[in-house]
């Protein structure tokens, strides 16, 4: 009887979803996400969905229709430099704005921070990290390193055990985000089926296209008060096209490294050029020759042949 009257009451009441949306300032965060992150369509769609769900949940709670907190543990997979870490830090802000996490800080860890060196060392270490992350987001980068099947005495499994337990029991207190390369994460989940089933959102980060990478480069330059000359931009498009076919290509990270080297060359050009009076435009502009000097053009090799560049 009581329940019936409650539902009846709920149907009579109404709430303004728009007002709730405005109040949460979530639009600002989502717009910032759209503006500052180029491409990543599936990621943005999923984040919008999560935001909508949490907002609707909040409104439902006002009408007494509780459904229990949704599980928001996530797994980000994708190639190097596709923005997994960047999105994770945004995620904590979004979840905080929506009132899902209380503090909204991001604790970023890798295997070293979770797994101990001797028996009995792992549990306190993992627990300490978990306690630090409570009220916020725990981001585990390269999570597949936690599990090393070739060594059965590895302590990683113990750490996974504790993580699973907290992911289940302290769902209101923290959100766990795992990140790693797709194939390795798949292998990781195969050997840890419990982990897979406890993660509600598996988000795959696609590789960037040439246009997107150039747009990213422009954003990066703008943030450092640089810009391409028209020729410079053309040269950079060509550079990206060539670079993508070479080994160790790491999407946005390669772009950043290429820009850092272009800045070096620009500085050198200005220094040796002998032009005495430099204007601010000279100091800001990356010319085609700064980019054309790369080994990608000259020898068809990445600039640093020894590692990812």
């Amino acid at each position: 009887m009581a329940k019936q009257s409650k539902i009846l009451k709920a149907t009579e009441q109404s709430v303004d979803l728009d007002a709730e949306f405005r109040e949460s300032n979530i639009r600002e965060v989502l717009d910032k996400l759209d503006r500052e992150l180029i491409g990543l369509k599936p990621v943005k769609t999923r984040i919008h969905e999560i935001a909508a769900l949490l907002l609707v949940d909040r409104v439902r709670k006002q009408l007494g229709l509780s459904a229990g907190a949704p599980s928001l543990h996530m797994c980000f997979t994708g190639n190097p430099g596709t923005g997994k870490t960047t999105v994770a830090s945004r995620m904590s802000e979004i979840l905080h704005r929506l009132g899902y996490v209380r503090e909204g800080h991001l604790v970023s860890v890798t295997r070293d921070d979770l797994v101990g060196q001797y028996i009995g060392h792992t549990a306190p270490k993992t627990k300490e990290v978990i306690k630090r992350a409570m009220g916020g987001v725990l981001f585990i980068d390269e999570a597949y390193y936690l599990y090393k099947p070739e060594n059965e005495r590895d302590y990683g499994a113990e750490s996974i055990e504790i993580l699973l337990q907290t992911m289940e029991n302290n769902r209101d207190d923290l959100v766990v985000i795992l990140a790693g390369y797709k194939d390795r994460m798949d292998k990781f989940f195969q050997s840890n089926p419990g982990m897979r089933s406890r993660i509600a959102h598996h988000i795959d980060f696609p590789d960037y296209g040439v246009d997107e990478l150039v747009a990213i480069a422009k954003l990066m330059l703008a943030a450092q008060n640089y810009r391409f000359s028209p020729d410079g931009e053309k040269a950079f498009v060509e550079y990206i096209r060539l670079r993508m076919t070479l080994e160790y290509f790491a999407n946005a990270r390669s772009v950043r490294n290429a820009l850092d080297r272009a800045r070096l060359r620009q500085a050198n050009r200005l220094f040796t050029g002998g032009k005495k009076a430099l204007t601010s435009i000279d100091l800001m502009t990356i010319e085609a020759e700064d980019i054309k000097a790369s080994r990608v053009f000259l020898e068809g090799k990445p600039d640093t042949a020894t590692g990812p560049a």
């Binding site: 306190p124 300490e128 978990i130 306690k131 630090r132 409570m134 923290l174």
Partner: protein, 143 residues
């Protein structure tokens, strides 16, 4: 020392009814906002001069949210249901470098209280001391 209800009254809030978990969280939150490190301690020797209680785990630094500490408190309660457990906040700022908050979050079911011991010394002077009835029994069997 003892009061009317035989309850141990050491530290903050000890004359109030026991704090609820929500109230404990709020107190922890206050300490965390001040940047104090929080430790959980337990003992079964409640003598007021027994200042160094056993630590339950390490002191917790750099935390943002009380949930983790509350989890540890509950673990400690599960391990030592009949001990005194207190939460201590340590202020490391120069000039303080000492605990700035301390309150009991768990106490034994029955607290027998303290007895007053009078000892006559030279010249019929009397020295007073107090003695916890609980400590007549060996450690671990006191409550």
């Amino acid at each position: 020392m003892t009061n009317a209800g035989n309850r141990l009254t050491q530290g903050q809030f000890s004359f109030l009814p026991p704090l609820t978990d929500k109230q404990i969280s709020a107190q922890i939150k206050y300490a965390l906002n001040k940047g104090w490190a929080i430790g959980i301690e337990y003992t079964d020797d409640p003598h007021p001069r027994d200042t160094y209680w056993e630590m339950y785990g390490n002191p917790m630094f750099d935390l943002k949210d009380p949930a983790g500490i509350l989890m540890e408190i509950n673990n400690c309660r599960k391990t030592f249901p009949n001990h005194y457990i207190r939460v201590t906040a340590f202020n490391s700022a120069r000039g303080f470098e000492s605990p700035t908050m301390s309150y009991i979050v768990n106490r034994p079911e029955k607290e027998p209280g303290f007895g007053l011991i009078r000892r006559e010394t030279a010249g019929r002077n009397i020295q007073y001391s107090i003695h916890s009835y609980a400590t007549d029994k060996p450690e671990g069997e006191r409550y």
